[in-house]
Symmetry: C2
Subunit: 448 residues, 2 copies
């Protein structure tokens, strides 16, 4: 309902960090999202939707100090404390807890939806952005982890990205390495977070931090960095390389066995775009086993676009709602980042929704233009008739804006001959067809 109380002009504008997706961009984005969805469904994942607003206590306290600051929250009309969705993982945990008896087990779901964080926009961050998550809640097996990796690999290939690496590590191996390097259990997480910075701040700076903050000896720190800098294509290579470190430690053995299962499944899937990167830590403390990140290496240094898909195995999340652990593994595709990378790599082609524009050449023929567009639509061809008898330049400009490939011209002369002229708007070539054939001819032209 729209009443116009104030007639003062309002400046049309967006909030900082919020974007409109105008059709040109939205058509390309939708296409990318469709590709992603199809791969998720190919792997047996089903769609879930959850509300934008949740009770504040569902979300609060789950995203650390920063998250508490960045979360949009307010009191609603009923004085309830509510908050806007901050990610898709906590709502998933709530859903799994809330509908325990209704959901299939294991629960394999995907959700592609915006989330809100009051980020500092000067860092190029958005306050409304899409997350695209796929998770398996239930089984504690390497196959689920491998499927996450296989999906990312398939998605990137289908989007036209040929060179990329899904980096894989296992938290238990990382813990074993830290223990072997002499770090006490309470220092392991700090050690992991420090090691995680190798690619960002360099090995030297990390070595200094290990010495100064964690009190490691120089040679210990250097040997830890050497070990953590290990990058091998698969588990076989890993075994010969760090046999003496990982397999001495019980946790290390378990982590290695888990990683082995993931890679056995990956081999069967035929996925080869992986790299075991022992420095990969993923700063968060809730991962318990497999972790992954994905970097595009196409004509570029690997950190240029950041990680476009990351995740791992976690098991405490549902615990917050039901009081017991439930193993889960998931991966989140950064679709905004991925789309930006595709744009930079020239992989986003200007799309179009409309295939044919019936031009409005003569007012007296307007009724017949409707008939032409009706015939096109009945054949399933996305098409429109220009609404008014405007200047032809205007009509062609309209076609160009919407990237419409073909125009149909029908004037008195065509009418007298029962013909229709079809113009290819790229090549400017024109062909004339009998009216009764023009839909079929256009179908052929569109297939080419």
């Amino acid at each position: 309902m729209l009443y116009f109380i104030s007639m003062k002009l309002i400046e049309p504008r967006n909030l900082k960090g919020f974007r409109d997706y105008l059709p040109e961009e939205q058509i390309a984005r939708s296409k990318m999202i469709e590709t992603i969805k199809k791969v998720f469904e190919l792997f047996g994942f089903e769609p879930l939707e959850t509300p934008v607003l949740e009770y504040e206590d569902i979300l609060a306290g789950k995203y650390g100090e920063e998250g508490e600051k960045l979360m949009y929250r307010f009191k609603d009309q009923g004085q309830r404390d509510v908050a806007m969705r901050y990610d898709l993982t906590v709502p998933l945990a709530r859903v799994v807890a809330q509908y325990q008896n209704e959901l299939p087990r294991p629960f394999k779901r995907y959700q592609i939806a915006p989330v809100w964080r009051a980020e500092n926009t000067q860092k190029g961050r958005y306050r409304e952005f899409y997350q695209c998550d796929v998770d398996v809640v239930g089984p504690n097996v390497g196959l689920a982890d491998a499927e996450c990796i296989a999906m990312v690999s398939k998605i990137l290939r289908q989007l036209g990205i040929k060179k990329f690496k899904v980096k894989v590590n296992n938290r238990k191996i990382l813990n074993a390495i830290m223990a072997t390097a002499g770090l006490s259990p309470e220092k392991v997480l700090v050690g992991i977070r420090t090691i995680d910075k190798i690619e960002k701040i360099g090995a030297k700076a990390v070595a200094e931090e290990l010495e100064n903050v964690l009190g490691m000896k120089k040679n210990e720190a250097e040997s830890l960095i050497r070990l953590a800098s290990t990058k091998v294509p698969d588990v076989g290579a890993l075994k010969t390389f760090i046999n003496k470190y990982i397999l001495r430690d019980a946790q290390g053995q378990q982590g290695f066995s888990e990683l082995n299962k993931v890679f056995m499944a990956l081999e069967e899937f035929g996925v080869k775009d992986t790299e075991i990167d022992l420095s990969l830590a993923r700063g968060l403390d809730y991962y318990t086993s497999t972790i992954f990140e994905t970097v595009i290496t196409e004509n570029t240094e690997s950190r240029r676009f950041g990680s476009v898909a990351s995740g791992g195995r976690y098991d405490k999340l549902v615990n917050l709602f039901i009081g017991k652990d439930l193993p889960a593994v998931g991966i989140s595709i950064g679709i905004d980042r991925l789309f930006a990378a595709m744009q930079e790599l020239g992989l986003v082609k200007k799309g179009n929704v409309v295939d044919v524009l019936v031009l409005n050449l003569e007012p007296a023929l307007e009724q017949e233009y409707i008939g032409l567009v009706r015939d096109l639509r009945e054949a399933g061809i996305n098409s429109e008739a220009y609404y008014e008898n405007a200047d032809l330049k205007k009509q062609f400009a309209f076609a160009e804006k919407k990237n419409i490939p073909f125009a149909v011209l029908f004037g008195t002369e065509e009418k007298s001959k029962n013909e229709v002229t079809v113009r290819d708007l790229k090549t400017r070539k024109q062909q004339t067809f009998k009216i009764k054939n023009f839909v079929k001819e256009l179908e052929k032209l569109l297939k080419e």
Copy 2:
């Protein structure tokens, strides 16, 4: 980022008026939305996306007193007054004003997205619900209005609804009728709103209101109601019927001429599910010309489901942002209401994402199950391998929950013969195929 500060159990629950769409429902909803989108695109409309949060002044004062109360609004971290999207029409007006030089003209867009209103949930209303809008901003011609009607007609037919009426009226005709009945210009809108209640409260109650509130004489009121109760299939019938009322009045003549253009286009489109209903008023004061509402008449009285698609022509909206009128026409499909109607009419079939489940019969064969599912996926068949060697009952229950039609059985015996057994989970019929053929055989079975 997830840190677990509090370990107190949180009750998993939704806010009142907010819903989760679990996969079973979401699969069916997505299918309906896909159908709608395809028709919009068939008619040349392109997708637009706008943010959930807007500056409060963009939305405030546009939805009347009730809207002001129901709008979710708060101060963000930067102390800005912000509000959650209340409909899709005001954001459209903002976009048209903000990107005047970038958008094609006319601008034909669709947007399917949730909006938020703190409604009274006891009336069965939701606080988060989807709107599905399609609008043309630019030309002031009947063809655009007719396309709105033609789209709704095509969408309902494609969704399996066979009996429905798109009710059409024109505000100018309504104004003429009111003037002819002797209402002064300032009373016309009150008269229109009163007439709009005929189907809700009955002709008698409306007659009393016309007498008591508007001071009409009894015979005048009755004659107005008779006129406004006119329902005819098209403009031809209208002309003979109320010639003497409408065409005496200049506004009435214009309205009739507009309606005539809409129906000429509808005839060419072959749309016959229309009804001119002179009592149709659409309570809002911003409509200027054509108005429509859609009722499902299938085996039911027409008001059972309410209007599933309504809208009309308006021209003041963009004015709020740019200071000049821009003609526009649009229709909004109530997809929640439509989905509920389809459910009641038995038109929503239980859908499925996954077509084949590879059962986990023997732990020793797990690696081969991965190979089987890989082959299925390579052929584009949505499929999954059950992750663990669980009890078969559990695996079949999983298949049932996900409504998976086929299972693949592969045990030691099958392996020794290079065979695969395929089980139709509905009919429980089993067939055995050679491994090298099983993907093709499943493709055939899925096509049946």
